[in-house]
Structures are given as C-alpha cells and as structure tokens.
C-alpha cells in the first residue's frame, strides 16, 4: 500500500468519516412530529375535580 496515501488518509479520513457517522445518527434519531404539543392531554368527561373545598 502506498505510504503517502495512507498518511493522507489518516489525516483526512477520520474527520470526514466522523462527520458522516454523526450525520447518519442524527438522521436516524427519532424526532417528535412537527407541531405536536408537549402539554398534558385534556381531562376527559367525568374527570371533574372541585378544587374549591
């Protein structure tokens, strides 16, 4: 194997590969759907609580 090529690959390749792997991981990361609310779901009928005790 060409030594110059190996040294150049050792200097450049890790940065490119590291960035590529990061990009793939970010693409595959599960994301919350756009516009989804983070608020708790509304209380359904029958769930009335009287706080004025």
């Amino acid at each position: 194997m060409n030594p110059t090529l190996l040294v150049v690959a050792a200097l450049i390749f890790p940065a490119l590969w590291g960035w590529f792997v990061y990009w793939q991981f970010e693409r595959l990361r599960p994301r919350r759907p756009t516009g989804a609310s983070t608020a708790p779901p509304p209380v359904e009928s029958g769930g009335f609580i009287d706080f004025q005790i």
């Binding site: 890790p14 590969w17 590291g18 991981f25």
Partner: protein, 260 residues
C-alpha cells in the same frame, strides 16, 4: 516447575492488576501493559507487542463493559456513535504502525501524555457537568465526539494502547461528561476498537507469536476488571481522574525515557 507454569504465575497477577486499575480509570490497560511487555520481551517486534496488548485490552474492556452494563452507567447512544466513528481509524492505525518511525513518534507522544497528566492533576474535575452528549447543546458535542473518537481510535491503534487513556479525558473535558459515565462509555467503545485492531493484526499475521502470552494475561485481566468496576462506584470522580492523570504521566515518562 515447567517454564509455561512459571510464566502463568507471573502473567496472571500482572493481568489482574492491569485489569483492575485499567477498568477503574476507564482505560483498557494497554497503556500500562505495553511498558510491561517491552521489559519482559525485549526481542519481540513492536507489531507483536502491540497485537498482544490490544488483544488483552479487548478481554479487559469486554469484562469491564459487562460490569458497567449491569450498573447502568453506559451512555449507549454516545457509545454507539463513537464506536461507529472509530472503527475505520482503528484499522488505519494498525496499517500505519509499519510506516511511522517509533523512535520519533514515541517521545513526542510521551510529551503530549505527560502534559495531559499534569493538566488533569492540577484540576481533576475542571468545569465538567454531569450530562450526556445527547443533552442540551448535544448536536455540537456529538459532532465533536464523533470526529474526536475517529482520530483517537487511529492514534491509539497506532500506539497499541487501546485508547481509553486518551478517550476518557476527551469525554470529561471536551464533551462535559461525568467521570463515572465517561469511564463506562469509554470502556464500551474500547471493546469494539480493540477487537477491530486485533482482527486487523490477525489478518496481517502478526498475532500468532503472542497467543499464549495473551491468553495468560487475559485470565488475570478478566478477573481484575470486575474488581476495578466495583471499586469505581466506591471511589469519587476526582480520585478516578487523579488515577488517570498518574497513569498518563507514567506512560508519558516511559515514552520519553525510551528516547535516551
């Protein structure tokens, strides 16, 4: 007593000590093992010694990782990202070891390790926060971690030291991980890095001379690694970093000493 048995009774305790301390500081123990192998086998080639070291690092890292998995300390997302980033670097490092003159590279790297050891001793925890790279500002941390892990894998494979001794300070200082999470995650990454480098050494035909030595050291290492993992939960983060700094300085001095 046969020479093999004498060798067994010497190598198993050495492996035990390296396994316990290596797991405690989140390193695979290769940085401590390489100097020991250099003293014990003065006539072996650096390629054979690094292949033995990396194979032992694999057994130690595997054993330590299982212990850390049970403790639930590994950041798996970060660990998988850094592993995927580091595998090609580990292969390149083994290929490069035949090209780089060790007589020049070793002392330079020794100075780097010594400086890192002194820096960590002066301020063990620095401004590190207890968080994962996937937390707030996680994108820049993950990118830095991914690229950094790729270069660390290459450098550590080139030196035959596994890489935990460089990876742990990088995770603590660069990515602001807690020392306990950093040591466990580094061990997880190290398992795959050392395995990749060992397979590359086997394919290049550099491993067959050291199989017996590797297996004897591996027995000790696999007994010592769970002890190191158990000790790590009883010892504070500051002491772990100080232990790592001591190990870094020791390796640095050893590499500089080889120059003379």
């Amino acid at each position: 007593m046969s020479p093999e048995l004498i060798q067994f009774f010497i190598l198993v305790p050495i492996g035990f000590a390296i396994g316990a301390f290596g797991t405690l500081v989140g390193a695979g123990g290769g940085s401590l093992l390489v100097p020991v192998l250099l003293l014990m086998m003065p006539h072996e080639s650096p390629a054979t010694l690094t292949s033995i070291s990396l194979a032992v690092v694999f057994f130690n890292a595997y054993s330590g990782t299982v212990a850390y998995m049970r403790m639930g300390r590994i950041d798996y997302r970060a660990g998988m990202l850094f592993t995927a980033a580091g595998v090609p670097g580990a292969i390149l490092g083994v290929l490069l070891v035949h090209l780089v003159p060790r007589a020049l590279f070793d002392p330079l790297f020794g100075i780097l390790l010594l400086a890192m050891g002194i820096w960590l001793t002066s301020d063990p925890l620095g401004r590190s926060l207890t968080q994962s790279p996937a937390d707030a500002d996680g994108e820049s941390h993950s990118l830095l971690g991914s690229i950094g892990s790729a270069y660390i894998a290459l450098l550590s494979s080139l030196l035959g030291i596994g890489g935990g001794i460089i990876h742990v300070p990088f995770l603590i200082r660069g990515l602001k991980m807690s020392p306990h999470a950093a040591t466990a995650t580094s061990h997880f990454v190290l398992t795959f890095m050392a395995l990749t480098a060992t397979i590359t050494h086997i394919l290049l035909g550099e491993f067959h001379e050291g199989i017996n030595t590797t297996l004897m050291l591996a027995v000790g290492v696999m007994m010592g690694a769970p002890l190191g993992a158990a000790l790590s939960s009883k010892i504070g983060g500051s002491l772990i970093v100080r232990s790592l700094a001591f190990a870094l300085s020791l390796v640095g001095l050893r590499l500089i000493w080889r120059m003379f």
